[in-house]
């Protein structure tokens, strides 16, 4: 419970920063921080494997990817972003606050229904692997196909249109 009490505000602060920071790179780095804290949260909750995977994939890959795209696209000045903020914030809050209200309402309802097993629980890698390749084997295959397709698709997208891959003699 104590680690949760420490982690929760940290995660929320980092997430708020990721949403609020006007400078895109800051937002992306704060996202990485949020995700890393999330990974720690998973570790605390006993899902070691998931936590480490989360760290590897999100911090090591997704966040780096986002940062990298930011570097390539070089987003413009944040002054305009800040200037436009009040207006967009009104509509944004108008949409998201009711969602939050509904979610919190449901959470409170859920709690009155009440169910809490508090025994420590952890998942061993062996158990996870066995389940993954028996119960969820079709899903694993589907994800494999998906990832292959994504790899090919992303490579196709990212290729300069109408241009061959450069050969050394081109340069």
């Amino acid at each position: 419970m104590i680690p949760l009490l420490i982690l929760t505000p940290l995660i929320l602060l980092a997430a708020l920063g990721a949403v609020w920071k006007a400078r895109p790179v800051h937002a992306a780095l704060l996202l990485a921080l949020t995700l890393a804290l999330n990974a720690i949260l998973y570790l605390v909750l006993g899902a070691d494997f998931i936590g480490l995977i989360q760290f590897m994939v999100y911090v090591g890959a997704v966040a780096v990817l986002i940062v990298f795209s930011l570097l390539i696209t070089r987003p413009g000045d944040e002054a305009e972003e800040i200037a436009r903020r009040p207006r967009s914030l009104v509509t944004g809050l108008a949409c998201s606050l009711p969602v939050l209200a509904v979610l919190l309402f449901m959470v409170s309802r859920f709690e009155t229904a009440g169910s809490a097993a508090t025994d420590a629980r952890s998942v061993s890698i062996e158990q996870l692997g066995t389940t993954l390749f028996t119960t969820h084997a079709p899903a694993v295959m589907a994800v494999g196909v998906l990832l292959t397709a994504v790899m090919i698709g992303a490579a196709l997208f990212a290729r300069e249109p109408g241009k061959k891959t450069p050969t050394p003699s081109d340069s």
Binding site: T91, G92, A94, C95, S96, P98, V99, V102, F105
Partner: protein
């Protein structure tokens, strides 16, 4: 060999339809530039399935029980399992062998005929699919599977007829074929559903539980429906309508002559082996339903009469046509009528014999027509040909064999014997002489118009010298011609009354050589001879000396006057449909259109549009008024629309926000309401 093969047949037989279908699928994935590979693939697949079909034929030669392979449960809903399977009996074995054999030679011919075609590979893909679907029709042991394959045949025919889709006429012909057969298919579908609801099965043979076996037939005959018809008769009629659509019987025949807009090998395939044969085959396959109850059943009577009328009608129309392929197309309609007469009056055997013989010589005729057209650089008008027998001697010989087989030249040619068989069964039919007379006169006319065509195309002097330099076709196109010609001649061996092997085999008996059988039908043979002689002779008298001028009217045109024009326009069926069906439809559509405008315009607050709408009501023919009204309606709409479309900002987040707001409102509303 037969003994060793038989146990493997259930597995092998699936490959007969599947191989061409798979080949078609693979070709569909090939880029167009690999046309040569596609053609080799298609021919190879069909060759293998031809071998299997011939092996199956060999296995089914010994008379035995019907062999049904229904091993596959397709799907299950509730506790009802829908099974599909294949069937091997003399009927399907002979059809499968014929289809694969004839189609194989048509494929080979196509490699020569379509050599310059840009979409060469695609063509073979379609052909393969066409053939595979037809084979599925032939071998299916389930009415449902048959129907599915039947629709696939329809689709493939649509694609092939519209193969030159840049040509508006081809595109129109393809649509026409598709829509016209759809009318028949609807009836077929209804009949199928009715049969299923009555018997609970769609398998033909299923160890006593099948649709065509005594139990189901008895229940079909027992139930009656409107007008005292038994269900089997009613369902049979519906199936007959389906077959009429597919096999081009009056009045659903109009698509068939137009279908020759496709490349010539396609016409050959449609007219000979696959498409139109499907209808006749379906009637033959479900013949027990038609004949259910014994005696002179309603569907059989209908079948005979429809066939007879079609035969005579098409023969009459064919007399007055000038397009090489169109004449052949109408002759196909006419011959299909013969088959229907045979099925209606005599039974499966006579009809199937004619179907198979016809497949050979009609494929032959179409392919030689293709060869002639190919040689004349695309010219199709027989009035502009003439004298081709010299430059295209080899094509001419092949054509002559096919033409003589079709006109029923005595003794040597299969067409004579099969037609004779039909006339025989029509003559002895208990339901009257009507179909017999119709068929006999159609036979006479057949001889007449085929002679006319032959004379105009191959004899006399070239009527447009200097324009064409007719040349002989390459041997890849000629060899199929001769193979089919040999078939057209040799088939007569198994079809004579002396040794009616084929008919007995289909009926499950063994044939005996009976020289005396000839004498029983001697009168009829004499009649056939007379018919052919009169037909050919009359044609010879009239067309012996064709006019030098290619634009001169036909010699008969003067004598027949307006009747000739009537025939030339195919008795106005197309025009009739134009007026009777399309006209009202267009009128109705116009009405709907008008209604919409009348409702729409006031809604948009366009007083001007309202006035124009009234103006359109009063002066419906005023073209300019309509146009202007429409334009102003459009511009008014555009103004309103552009102001309305300003809300469509094109920004994803704006949309997201609206969605979010809407969701929020809904949620709040929901909670508010549920809280109350």
């Amino acid at each position: 060999m037969v003994e060793t093969l038989t146990p493997h047949l259930p597995n092998l037989l699936w490959w007969v339809p599947l191989l061409p279908l798979i080949a078609g699928g693979i070709i569909a994935l090939l880029p167009d530039k690999h046309g040569r590979i596609a053609s080799k693939l298609a021919i190879g697949a069909l060759f293998v399935s031809c071998l299997i079909a011939l092996a199956a034929l060999a296995c089914s030669l010994t008379p035995k029980e019907v062999e049904a392979f229904a091993p596959v449960t397709w799907f299950t809903f509730g506790d009802v399992a829908l099974k599909v399977g294949l069937l091997l009996d003399p009927l399907s074995a002979s059809m499968a062998a014929m289809v694969t054999f004839v189609a194989l030679w048509i494929f080979i011919y196509s490699t020569g005929y379509m050599a310059d075609e840009k979409r060469f590979g695609r063509f073979f893909g379609f052909l393969s699919m066409f053939c595979g679907a037809m084979l599925m029709v032939v071998l299916s042991n389930s009415l449902l599977l048959l129907f599915m394959a039947w629709e696939l045949v329809g689709l493939a025919s649509y694609l092939l007829i519209g193969f030159y889709f840049e040509k508006p006429s081809a595109a129109a012909a393809a649509q026409k074929a598709f829509i016209t057969t759809r009318v028949g298919d609807m009836a077929f579908f209804l009949g199928m559903i009715w049969l299923y609801s009555q018997t609970g099965t769609l398998l033909f043979y299923d160890g006593g539980n099948g649709l065509l076996e005594s139990g189901a037939l008895a229940s079909l005959a027992g139930a009656t429906t409107v007008g005292g018809l038994s269900v089997s008769a009613a369902a049979g009629l519906l199936l007959l309508v389906g077959a009429m659509g597919k096999s081009g019987q009056v009045p659903l025949h109009t698509w068939l002559p137009d279908a020759m807009e496709g490349p010539t090998p396609v016409s050959a395939l449609i007219h000979a082996a696959t498409m139109v044969a499907a209808g006749v085959f379906m009637v033959a396959r479900t013949h027990p339903i038609f004949a259910n109850g014994g005696g002179l059943t309603v569907p059989l009577t209908a079948c005979a009469w429809v066939g007879g009328i079609t035969a005579l009608y098409a023969a009459l129309v064919a007399m007055a046509q000038t397009d090489f392929k169109r004449i052949l197309a109408y002759s196909t309609v006419s011959q299909l009528g013969f088959m229907m007469v045979a099925l209606g009056t005599g039974g499966v055997a006579a009809g199937m014999l004619h179907l198979i013989c016809h497949a050979f010589f009609k494929a032959l005729l179409f392919l030689s027509a293709g060869s002639v057209i190919h040689g004349c650089h695309g010219e199709q008008d027989i009035r502009k040909m003439g004298g081709l027998s010299k430059p295209m001697r080899r094509t001419f010989i092949a054509y002559a064999i096919g033409m003589m087989a079709l006109s029923g030249f005595p003794f040597l040619f299969s067409g004579f014997w099969s037609k004779e068989g039909i006339l025989h069964s029509a003559q002895t039919w208990a339901g009257g002489y009507g179909p017999f007379l119709l068929a006999a006169s159609a036979a006479l006319l057949t001889a007449f118009y085929m002679t006319r065509q032959a004379l105009l195309v191959f004899f006399g002097e070239p009527r447009k010298p200097g324009v064409h330099h007719p040349h002989e076709s390459p041997s890849v196109m000629l060899i199929p011609l001769y193979v089919l010609a040999a078939g057209a001649v040799l088939l007569s061996l198994i079809a004579t009354p002396i040794w009616p092997w084929f008919e007995k085999w289909i009926e499950g008996e063994s044939a005996v050589f009976d020289g005396g059988a000839l004498s029983h039908g001697l009168g009829l043979i004499a009649l056939s001879l007379g018919i052919v002689t009169v037909g050919v002779g009359a044609s010879w008298m009239i067309y012996r000396k064709p006019s030098e001028n290619s634009n001169a009217p036909d010699p008969l045109a003067g004598k027949l006057g307006p009747l000739w024009n009537f025939l030339e326009r195919a008795m106005g069926f197309d025009a009739l449909y134009e007026k009777a069906i399309i006209g009202p439809l267009a009128f109705f559509a116009g009405g709907v259109d008008m209604l919409e405008r009348m409702l729409f315009v006031p809604l948009m607050g366009m007083a001007e549009g309202l006035i124009k709408g009234f103006g359109r009501l009063t002066g419906a023919t005023d073209e300019s008024g309509i146009n202007r009204g429409f334009n102003s309606l459009c511009s008014g709409l555009k103004q309103r629309a552009s102001s309305a479309s300003r809300s469509q900002s094109g920004r994803p987040q704006a949309y997201l926000r609206s969605i979010g707001l809407g969701m929020s409102v809904l949620l709040i509303l929901y909670f508010w309401l549920s809280a109350r």
